[in-house]
């Protein structure tokens, strides 16, 4: 159905993709760092 091309053939598009990916993964990193921060225990762990 579609013409499948490799984005590496398009330098500008590749750089946009890399930049966008960095920003998206930064969002994931900031959030997961908060989710997985040490030193705080769950309510169940506190009861134990």
């Amino acid at each position: 159905m579609s013409v499948i091309l490799n984005i590496a053939d398009y330098a500008g598009a590749l750089w946009i993709l890399i930049g966008a990916t960095v920003i998206d993964l930064t969002i994931v990193g900031v959030a997961f760092k908060d989710f997985l921060s040490k030193g705080e225990k769950s309510e169940e762990e506190k009861k134990d």
């Binding site: 579609s2 984005i7 598009a13 993709l17 998206d24 994931v28 959030a31 997985l36 762990e45």
Partner: protein
Amino acid sequence: MQTLLVYKESYSELTKASLAVLRNPDATMQWYIIPILLIFIYIVSKELSEGHVQAVLAGAALWLVDIWNEIWNSYICAVSGHAPVWGTPPGSVEGVGLAGQSSAFDILIGYNIEISFMFFIMGIASCLMLPKDKKAKILGINNRVFFALVMTTLCVCVECFLNYANVLTWEWSFWQRSCPWVLWIIGYLPFFSAAYYTYDRPTVKKSFKTVGCLAALDIVGIIVGICLNWI
């Protein structure tokens, strides 16, 4: 309303078909979008009236991260001169066997009004299902991480089905059903990460700040896109 994306002969047939209806309500608007708008207003009003302000802000966060992705998707279409990474072309594109469905309003090259409402509501819903204790563990991992992974996986499955049904088109080799992990990491994990992070901010004010940062990112992206005719 005029499209800013400049028409290029090198665009794929699907992209050309999408451009024909991009921000063109004269050709696409349908009545069903009005009840959807009212359902959206009802959901947001109900959650706010019940004090779930951070759930609504989390919905906004997910929605804004999606808009960010939609903006760079438009950039890639314009810069490559080939196609967006994902597209939502109108039905009945000659020679490509698309289903007959069309959006009521295409906002960007791969982004329509239905997707917009859907992501905002999904952000709210995905937070309401979270345990109250943000540190609680499920199967040995933090529940926020667990839900982000599960919701991301479910969404990628739905995306693959939409692509299979030809209402969501993928024309780049790295963004295909054969390599769903790319969609998983770039496409959806940031959405739920941002939503849950916003939801868990210690105060509503901090949640607002998070949403403000994401909105600023989108505004800059839109301004750049308009200036360069990339959206």
